[in-house]
Symmetry: C2
């Protein structure tokens, strides 16, 4: 039954909380729930067909991810980003990813690392002709992989906490501006820098990449 085990390994049993979390995150970062919009718990729980208690747990997490901002009396609304905040988000992102790049440079065996990164770039290549959403996804996947490969769970977690804000930044700036940051070549430069093992170079490459990206978004 070797061939049968694969589809039998765990049925999709995500809790309603997690499902609600994904659904809301997508709705916000896609702009379906526009920035500034007031979120009413009773309304949302009815739309999602879940109880308020379950919903509130999900909202709490989105709040901490920076996708929602709390007003008086616990009123939640979709966060609105201005240009300074986008630059700030990208500063932090740059700091995290430059740490990732530096860390990867110091790894003894970088072969697997660059292999994985090249695969991620291939995925970007494949998505290059496709939808804007697909290109964004493959781009973010590349950068998430960068963090994951370090083996530093805290780093990965911090980056993922920022991911929602990054997506909002792209949406806020407009998807067209966002994808202009996703040139495959620029990402190859990053991998090449890591491949040399030169931590300072890798850091510099990432910082420049992020600087350009932020500049493009707020332009």
């Amino acid at each position: 039954m070797a061939g049968l085990t694969a589809p039998l390994l765990g049925l999709e049993k995500k809790s309603l909380r997690e499902q609600a979390l994904s659904a809301l995150r997508t709705a916000i970062t896609s702009g379906e729930l526009e920035p500034g919009r007031h979120l009413v718990e009773t309304e949302l729980s009815e739309m999602l067909q879940i109880s308020r208690g379950t919903l509130r747990e999900a909202l709490r997490q989105l709040e901490q991810e920076g996708l929602l901002s709390a007003g008086p009396r616990g009123r939640l609304s979709v966060r609105h980003l201005d240009e300074k905040e986008i630059r700030d988000i990208y500063s932090v992102r740059a700091a995290l990813e430059s740490l990732a790049a530096r860390t990867l440079c110091e790894l003894p065996d970088r072969q697997q690392v660059t292999d994985s990164l090249h695969k991620a770039i291939d995925a970007m290549d494949a998505a290059a002709g496709g939808s804007l959403e697909g290109r964004i996804e493959s781009d973010l996947e590349f950068h998430r992989t960068l963090c994951r490969l370090t083996g530093n769970e805290t780093l990965l977690h911090s980056w993922e906490s920022l991911e929602g804000s990054i997506r909002m930044s792209i949406m806020f700036a407009g998807l067209e501006k966002g994808v202009s940051n996703m040139s495959v070549d620029r990402h190859k430069d990053i991998v090449a820098a890591i491949d040399t093992g030169d931590a300072a170079l890798a850091r510099k490459t990432i910082l420049e990449h992020m600087d350009t990206a932020a500049a493009n978004l707020v332009a």
Copy 2:
């Protein structure tokens, strides 16, 4: 009534969720809830005298802060840190705070910044002879101030998300080891570096500070 307004500005109206959050965070970072300990919702809600729903919202946030880890079927337990994780946490912390230092160096008017930092150092001085807890608090307050002064809310938020893990690291290593990192002089060096406006120097000073701190903790 000028003298009377101060105590009348807003009655302490923290929600039960926030109170529970503080109480649990303190209990965990103080070691009252030892690492690995299983947290049972019904038990905790009875101890804190709040409903499970309210408690769950607080637990969810602690989970995201990295103070709790989730087992199978949503069982939560107090996270246990090994030495690698402590180093990882301090790597991320170093990346964030070096960004803070760099940012502060680029500020046009650094006078207020260094003033605030000197005040924070004075507080450390005052606490130097006191309890271990007091010294830790004033140390963390210094570093939090460093992030706050940048005006980068995302940076501050990311740092605060890490704060719980930092406190756990100190507790895990033992408070005595922790306070050995809190020499007032070493912090004066940081402020001095920022004062020069030399971003590279400030960054280097912070990175070394964190490197030493992490090394002390896992020693």
